[in-house]
């Protein structure tokens, strides 16, 4: 019952996002052929507009687009003559998702470790050290970190490939570049929530049982400390697996990150809509999974559909 209700809400949410995007997108000045307009004869532009239904009034365009969407068809890309939006997303998503997943795993594991170490050494050297690392991680933008990684990791050390996509080795540097930001954010949140947990009475109960500190932190601490952290891992996860413009550009990765930006400059309407809906779907699904996840992490949370 809960799951069904959630799924319905998700569809409605996505429909609202899609509609809003459609409206906003069409209210930006310019159109897909604006940049070529001078060089193209009027007749050709007219034909092109007709091909993409751009000569119809907006409500009609909206209905036509919705019809395609119900068949999971995002339509053709105006920029790319050979591939439609479905293919663009399908091809680009794989590298982006692989990088994103790897980066998330690294960020979660190291972020947890860093946050816990900091909390256990509250207001001592290691605490300050890990928080300095975290602040640097949050502050250094990826367009600085990525070239630095290329310089020291690839050009000077000569072990890893500089850029491009292919073997697993190609994924290492971009994964690091992607992971640092989320890692730092997770570390800071884990530290705060772990400090809170360490002061709880049940931790004293565990200590009074004569268990070792490592065991107490792992068995009693982490699970409780991670509860508040989970809720922001969701959106972080969704945005990172749908690719990032900067990192993918610098490492020349054929991901979908670039379409989010390029499509808007080109007024490539189907790609704008396609990528937005795709990202929203992933986000909404992730949030749903996170909520399901809560049920296993925190037994106090019950899945009911509100009115029950």
């Amino acid at each position: 019952m809960y799951v069904i209700k959630r799924l319905i809400t998700m569809v409605v949410t996505l429909w609202i996002i899609m509609t809003l995007t459609f409206v906003i997108m069409n209210s930006i000045p310019g159109d897909p052929f604006a940049s070529d307009a001078k060089s193209l004869p009027e007749e050709i532009v007219k034909n092109m507009r007709a091909k993409y239904n751009l000569d119809e009034p907006l409500p009609v365009q909206y209905v036509l687009y919705m019809k395609d969407l119900l068949h999971f068809d995002f339509g053709p890309s105006i920029q790319s003559k050979t591939r439609d939006v479905n293919t663009l997303i399908a091809e680009g998503f794989l590298p982006s998702a692989i990088l994103g997943l790897q980066a998330m795993v690294v960020a979660i594991i190291l972020g947890l470790a860093l946050g816990i170490i900091a909390a256990l050494n509250h207001n001592r050297g290691l605490d300050y050290l890990s928080m300095i690392v975290a602040i640097v991680g949050i502050s250094v933008p990826s367009f600085i970190l990525a070239p630095l990684l290329i310089k020291y990791g690839a050009v000077e050390a000569g072990i890893l490939p500089v850029a491009s996509w292919g073997t697993w080795q190609h994924t290492i540097l971009p994964t690091i570049a992607l992971a640092v930001g989320p890692l730092a954010i997770i570390a800071r949140f884990v530290r705060t929530s772990m400090l809170e947990v360490l002061s709880q009475n049940y931790m004293k109960t565990a200590e009074a049982k004569g268990l070792s500190t490592v065991y107490i932190v792992c068995k009693h601490g982490i699970r409780n400390a991670i509860i508040p952290v989970i809720s922001f891992i969701g959106p972080l996860f969704a945005s990172i697996i749908t690719g990032t413009f900067v990192v993918e550009k610098i490492f020349a990765i054929p991901g979908i990150g670039k379409y989010f930006v390029d499509s808007i400059f080109n007024r490539d309407y189907p790609v704008i809509l396609g990528t937005t809906i795709f990202y929203s779907t992933i986000l909404v699904l992730t949030l749903f999974l996170i909520d399901l996840c809560y049920r296993f992490v925190d037994p106090r949370i019950k899945m009911t559909s509100g009115s029950e």
Binding site: Y202, G210, H220, I227
Partner: protein, 338 residues
């Protein structure tokens, strides 16, 4: 034989405002199988005393500055943290004040008990589970096999306190420290928990250090009482000594602040005027002098020594000094009739 003997214990905490002298020379002891109650108001150092027995004073600010805590053959103040950990949970069990927060909310109740059997007593999982279920039954939890897999939010306050007691008892410790075990509970539930503690002590011959500010609980459960005030023990004796012939004005005050249910006439409930002294800068003399209606000049300047009235009964008060004989009779007389 004495299970526990604390001698001249000093504990202090470093804070930004200075050093708080929370415990300032506490002496007490617990015999095999007996219950010692430590009574006093909030901040008198009773909980800190209990934490020092367990070696669980909050670090790095808290520190045992002097004295000794002898538990069986171990000198607890000098033991390594590894050795302390071995004793905690197996030889000394601890029951905490607030059952609502002293259980881990994300761990099954059963696992919170059986980890002692598995980690400390090195039993197998199956054996541990069996023992846990038996223990849950013993502390009065119905249907223990099902309840084993429940979480703490599925238990009521009284039931949670039973689980906390089960945790403390798991390894069959010879000493149980109960820090305000009934304070957070309803009165009816309090009575049940006290019954349970009584029964356990009878069956297992466990010694109990009971920390409380509730004289009703003391009368119900304790054999002997130590009254603490501002970090020192001001009076100690058997329950009979304390309730029948209290010697320290603070004890008089405590007894008078308890409502008497058997009293026929309307009686005014007496509160002790004033507040305890600042432990950042504890007074040189008797800490109660400022609030004591019978305070003399000597009380402000010198801390009285322990005066013994019988083998079990002692108090620290200048009124009991031989030189203050006349005055103390007036005071005691006024106390009884006033």
């Amino acid at each position: 034989m004495r299970v526990l003997e604390i001698d001249n214990l000093h504990v202090s905490f470093k804070t930004r405002g200075g050093e708080i002298h929370a415990v300032r020379g506490v002496d007490l002891h617990v015999e095999d199988g007996e219950t010692l109650a430590i009574v006093g108001e909030s901040g008198c150092g009773k909980s800190v005393t209990a934490q020092s027995i367990m070696g669980m004073i909050p670090k790095p600010h808290g520190r045992i500055k002097g004295g000794s805590i002898k538990f069986r053959d171990h000198e607890m103040t000098t033991l390594s943290s590894k050795k302390l950990r071995e004793i905690r949970g197996t030889e000394i069990g601890m029951i905490f004040q607030d059952p609502m927060t002293s259980l881990n909310p994300t761990m099954k109740i059963g696992h919170q008990i059986d980890e002692i059997f598995i980690k400390k007593l090195k039993l197998s999982r199956d054996e541990a589970k069996k023992k846990t279920i038996k223990l849950l039954q013993e502390v009065g939890i119905a249907d223990p096999t099902t309840r084993y897999s429940d979480y703490s939010h599925q238990f009521s306050g009284g039931m949670r306190q039973r689980v906390v007691i089960a945790i403390a008892l798991a390894a069959n410790p010879s000493l149980l420290i109960a820090d305000e075990p009934t304070t957070a509970l309803d009165v009816t539930i309090q009575a049940q928990i006290l019954e349970l503690l009584k029964r356990i002590q009878l069956e297992r011959q466990t010694s109990i250090v009971l920390i409380t500010h509730d004289l009703g609980v003391v009368a119900e459960l304790a054999d002997r009482v130590s009254v603490m005030y501002a970090g020192i023990v001001v009076e100690s004796g058997t329950v009979h000594d304390l309730f029948e012939s209290p010697k320290h004005p603070y004890t008089w005050g405590l007894l008078k602040s308890v409502p008497n249910i058997h009293s026929q006439e309307k009686e005014r409930l007496m509160a002790i005027e004033g507040t305890p002294p600042d432990l950042f800068d504890p007074p040189m003399g008797c800490p109660f002098a400022q609030r004591c209606p019978y305070a003399m000049e000597v009380c402000i300047e010198y801390l009285p020594e322990k005066e013994f009235f019988s083998e079990s009964h002692s108090a620290r008060c200048w009124l009991q000094d031989k030189r203050a004989k006349g005055y103390s009779e007036i005071a005691a007389g006024g106390e009884r009739h006033g």
